[in-house]
Symmetry: C2
Subunit: 318 residues, 2 copies
């Protein structure tokens, strides 16, 4: 008999729900805008997506092993309670796992979205078969998840893996978390766009000065850098160097066999990966530096739903 | 029947060998200067210490479960080979476990000294019963070990736990490892002494200016700070603040229930712990910050031999 799990990637703007088989294959997926009117509406939207998946696939929701939800933190995996995620307005201490299980009639498990993504990449993505890996997602912010000894490492209260909030430059720019010089404040998409706007404002010549300020995104900077714009290259190189320093810290501390970088900024490809790899090679201790590879994530936009399904398979099996 | 293990704390200047019972109690210990003429002389010195322990305790070496050696890294735990530790001159790719096992006739296991200390504190020290903890030793350098999910975490090639070589200030002072602004370059005993000497050289008034330069150690700075010398307080506070930033990074990343600080500099007590705890409380994310305690190591000078014995019990049992 085939096994199925339902994976939900609950984001601030959109929610992807998918039926995922026991080998990590996405059988069907439904994408909707995330309702902004609070948890009840979100649960109804997910239930409607699940019904549609069932219609399309012929797999009854109740025959699924369970539902996994990758959600923005902070949250408590054990109890399935989502606290106050900054990008889910109106949510406060929501017992999401219990509410979803009641609504759908199947066991539901909730996990931090970056942790779920790490599990997805470990299961059927770039980290298959690798017991010790660090996953980073570099987009608006920088999040991550740690697979240590073959399993997701959650720490003492389920919050482990916050790779973005490691200070690497105490005199650096202020971070959203309140500290100064966090990796996120130096190498996230938001940080890249901010630095690029500062360059444009300074009046130095760059193709980015022809772009409206609100369209100066990390992607636009990467594109301009790819086309050879010297100042865009400088901005992107600064972020990549910070990421290299942060990853070297992780390599020295955790000695992973693999560092996987996903998220929108990783789409810049070698513009990002080449300097990161060079810094790790030059700065990490010899043995952990030789033991690690730095690679792009493999699962693209499906990483969230596959990872959320991985959470189900992990929980049901254990 | 009682079980015994022999624990060896092999240091650059002295070597402590002890008979340790199955509950982590030190039955007898022998301390010798570490021979500086290479591995053969060291192995003979340890064999002589083991013979003396046997005479004193009546426990035959061959009845011990095994010998554990905590040694300076880099080394390979699996094969028991010690590579080129900077503070063991003349050592290069020494198969220490095999040589010791042959000489003593009992199974021998080799572990990085900071990892062994982490295991000791976890077994019968400040970390008893705590599944997720970070151990730091702050002395000449800064080393550490990670207990994650109740076990020592060694990483992909056995080098995990290098907490001292995390860059927290990219513009900071050069570190012995070649990077700039590592925690070790800012908060180790060596860093404290260096900063204090700079203050003295600057001519600013401090009781430390009456101390010969070579006697300006972290301990002397801590003493002067404890007596109220403003500049000594400033120097020590700077190191403690750096340590607080580094530990906050670890708290955000790993979400440990406990951070244990050992090593000579931790002897400064509240002068070190109060600012570290304040920074963790102020700067860490709310949940991991609330989940963690920062405490002094409990085993003192015996931590190395107890930890080395813990390695034996772990290996023999698994």
């Amino acid at each position: 008999m085939s096994h199925y799990a339902i994976g939900v990637d609950l984001g601030g703007t959109k929610t992807l729900t998918a039926l995922v088989d026991g080998r990590g294959g996405v059988v069907a997926r439904v994408r909707v805008a995330t309702p902004t009117t609070g948890p009840d509406a979100v649960i109804e939207a997910i239930a409607a997506s699940v019904a549609e998946l069932s219609n399309r696939s012929g797999v009854a929701p109740r025959s699924a092993l369970g539902v996994g939800v990758g959600a923005p933190g902070p949250l408590d995996t054990g109890s399935g309670v989502v606290f106050e995620p900054p990008n889910l307005p109106g949510w406060r201490d929501v017992p999401l796992a219990a509410l979803m299980a009641k609504r759908l009639g199947v066991p539901t498990f909730v996990e931090n979205d970056a942790n779920a993504a790490a599990m997805g990449e470990h299961w059927v993505g770039a980290g298959q078969g690798v017991d010790d890996l660090v996953y980073l997602t570099v987009s608006t912010g920088i999040g991550g998840g740690l697979i240590l000894g073959g399993r997701l490492y959650r720490g003492a209260s389920g919050t482990a893996g916050e790779v973005g909030h490691m200070v690497i430059a105490r005199d650096g720019p202020r971070c959203g978390c309140g500290r100064a010089g966090c990796l996120e404040a130096l190498a996230s998409g938001t940080a890249i766009a901010r630095e690029a706007r500062l360059v444009v404002e300074s009046g130095r010549p760059t193709v980015l000065s022809q772009v409206p300020p609100e369209a100066i995104t990390a992607e636009a900077v990467a594109r301009a850098a790819g086309e050879g714009d010297p100042l865009a290259r400088e901005v992107f190189a600064g972020a990549a160097a910070a990421l290299g320093v942060g990853i070297t810290n992780l390599v020295n501390l955790l000695n992973p066999a693999l560092v996987i970088i996903g998220g929108g900024v990783s789409g810049a490809g070698e513009l990002l990966f080449a300097p990161v790899r060079r810094i790790v090679r030059q700065e990490a201790f010899e043995r952990p530096g030789a033991a690690v590879r730095v690679v792009p994530a493999a699962l693209g936009d499906d990483v969230g739903v596959i990872g959320a399904a991985a959470v189900v398979y992990e929980r049901v099996r254990s």
